[in-house]
């Protein structure tokens, strides 16, 4: 195939699309565009959910690396020394401890069981964006005692009746209100609600936070132990690097990266997502291939006599085949462009209106590589779907084609 042959094939393809059935061209582009959107939407949404869960886990539960008690132990002990050790390691931005006590909250006539998490508020700022999620009041101070911050679902909405609530709450606590907290160890005290936050992560939103200083009063002794320590890695340092450093430096407790934890906790769910993504991708490719195959087959069958005439006047079968090939390429390019536009519009829409559940909220997670890979896959499928019928019809003998 020389340049001249390709030029003629392209001219025939272009004119066929420009001056042939416009509605069939538009519909075909629309179908390819929708197939592209279908191919990429579900995987992107699942990726978005994965990303969202991962980010929220990192932000509110485990950080980049989680240090938890050794097997058989209940606490990470010798906390001050452990924190000093970890905070001095290369690659560590900050390590911060968590200590959780079960408690019963009483507000007016409402009683609610809530986990109270003790944190070091200033250090926590390096590890978790909790302090940016205050929707009323303010975040905890390092030496606050008798003050508490609670999640929005715990505070509740005074306009919703108790029997209509999705999950139990205190029925409309506001900043400045007093809440009675009875801890599991029998200690009871009244707290002033300093702030109300909303993170979108259910486990954090269903809890309450007090300062480390306050928790020491609750348990009645210096608190040199924690249920876990979350470690934030410095930018440029991988979680695995930090984990290995911790182990090398002699941190005796269990050290796990977010990846380790995710593979244990959500590995099966993410594998299911991957299977659904693959099924969705294969179905979309099959639909696109079949649709384009039908479109081009109908086109070639309707043009058999014309194909015979072109061959009769000396147009080589390769030119005829590439004519239909170019038509498919042009249709696929416009279809993919339409698909990308629709997908990006959906991504913008969903960034404004994310998919929200009580446990997490998610948007479409798209990368240029996702768009490129899906475009290439669809493009390849389109070429196969177009060239097969074009190849078949271009090999038909002139007499048979002209008699069609």
């Amino acid at each position: 195939m020389g340049k001249k042959e390709l030029k003629v094939a392209f001219l025939l393809a272009l004119r066929s699309l420009q001056r042939g059935g416009r509605s069939s061209v538009i519909l075909t582009i629309l179908i390819i565009g929708m197939c592209f959107t279908n191919m990429i939407f579900l995987p992107s949404l699942f990726n978005g959910i994965e990303q969202s869960i991962t980010k929220q886990l990192v932000d509110y539960e485990v950080g980049n690396v989680l240090v938890s008690p050794k097997s058989g132990d209940q606490y990470v002990t010798d906390l001050d020394a452990t924190l000093s050790l970890i905070n001095g390691m290369p690659g560590v931005e900050r390590a911060t401890p968590h200590y959780t006590e079960g408690a019963t909250f009483t507000y007016r006539k409402r009683v609610l069981g809530v986990s109270v998490r003790a944190i070091m508020p200033d250090d926590e700022k390096y590890v978790s964006p909790l302090y940016t999620k205050m929707i009323a009041g303010s975040y905890l101070g390092e030496s606050d005692t008798g003050e508490i911050i609670i999640g929005k679902p715990v505070a509740g909405d005074p306009t919703i009746r108790e029997e209509d609530e999705f999950q139990p709450s205190l029925g409309g606590v506001r900043v400045g209100d007093s809440v009675t907290v009875a801890y599991a160890n029998g200690y009871t005290r009244d707290y002033r609600v300093k702030g109300i936050y909303s993170t979108g992560w259910s486990q954090a939103d269903s809890a309450a936070y007090v300062s480390w200083t306050d928790m020491q009063q609750v348990i009645g002794q210096p608190l040199d132990k924690a249920h876990d320590i979350t470690v934030k890695a410095k930018p440029g340092y991988s979680e695995t690097f930090v984990k290995n450093e911790l182990i090398q430096y002699g941190v005796a407790d269990k050290v796990q990266t977010t990846g380790d934890l995710l593979s244990k906790v959500l590995g099966t769910a993410f594998q299911s997502f991957a299977i659904i993504n693959m099924v969705s991708l294969i179905v979309s490719i099959i639909i696109t291939t079949v649709v384009l195959f039908i479109v081009i087959t109908i086109k070639t069958l309707n043009s058999r006599r014309q194909i015979g005439i072109l061959k009769a006047i000396g147009v080589d079968k390769e030119v005829i085949m590439h004519n239909y090939g170019f038509q498919v390429i042009i249709l696929a390019i416009f279809g993919i462009i339409l698909g990308i536009i629709v997908t990006l519009l959906l991504a913008v829409y969903m960034s404004i209106h994310p998919v929200t559940t009580p446990a997490w909220s998610a948007t479409l997670y798209l990368t240029p590589m996702d768009l490129l890979m899906n475009s290439l896959i669809l493009f390849a499928a389109a070429i196969v779907a177009g060239y097969v019928p074009a190849y078949q019809v271009s090999r038909e003998d002139i007499q048979t084609a002209m008699r069609a």
């Binding site: 020389g2 042959e5 003629v8 014309q306 000396g314 147009v315 080589d316």
Partner: protein
């Protein structure tokens, strides 16, 4: 120019054998305007298709300009048609999505011995000659039957073929348009010394032919001006 020896084409329809051509032997000289006539089913179009390399004979030999076309492969036959032959079909057979100019240019664009400038100039000349220059940007559906057939003729001769084949080119035209088309053929034949082989079933077309071959049941039954020479 063309030598045909004992050409046969046999179709099988179930158990029945149909002899569309049954031992045709003849020569066609350069510059001739040859008419092939005969009743329906006599083998006129079959013979034209064999000569034009649009179909292959069951047996026999066709030699065009010293080349035995029977030994050419598919690609060589396509190139032979492109470089040496031109066709005018009964139903014009234009590409509906191409303008007049584009329809005419397609065969010329494919020739490796023509530059873009050359085929543009040739297309321009042919359109002027056939009186279609003003219609060059029109689509076939915007033209009358006579105009479409002139476009078909222009496309056939733009590559200056050695032989022009026409298969009942006036079958879909009224008398006035038929005469216009035949006058154009005569003009091309006389001015360009173009060899033309045309199938027709209209008696009045005989006036235009130098030589007429009559076929019946796949055999040449007469050959000469007005079919006078008996084979």
């Amino acid at each position: 120019m063309i030598a045909i020896e004992d050409l046969r084409k046999i179709y099988r329809m179930g158990n029945v054998e149909v002899r569309a051509l049954d031992g045709v032997t003849l020569d066609i000289e350069k510059g001739e305007f040859l008419g092939i006539m005969g009743p329906s089913g006599s083998g006129k179009t079959t013979l034209l298709h064999m000569l034009g390399l649009l179909d292959e004979p069951t047996s026999g030999r066709i030699v065009v300009d010293g080349i035995d076309v029977g030994i050419l492969n598919d690609y060589e036959r396509t190139m032979f048609r492109l470089y040496k032959l031109g066709y005018v079909f009964q139903d014009y057979a234009l590409v509906p999505d191409l303008t007049v100019m584009e329809n005419i240019s397609v065969p010329a664009m494919l020739r490796k011995d023509r530059t873009e400038e050359q085929y543009r100039r040739d297309s321009h000349e042919i359109l002027q000659k056939t009186g279609l220059w003003d219609r060059r940007d029109h689509l076939p559906r915007e033209l009358s039957g006579g105009q479409q057939q002139r476009v078909s003729i222009a496309r056939a001769i733009v590559n200056k073929p050695d032989i022009l084949f026409a298969d009942e080119p006036c079958a879909n035209l009224d008398t006035e348009n038929s005469r216009m088309v035949l006058d154009l053929f005569r003009e091309i034949n006389e001015e360009m010394k173009q060899t033309i082989v045309m199938v027709s079933h209209e008696d009045w077309h005989k006036d235009y032919f130098h030589r007429i071959i009559h076929l019946q049941d796949g055999k040449v039954v007469s050959d000469g001006k007005n079919g006078t020479k008996q084979s």
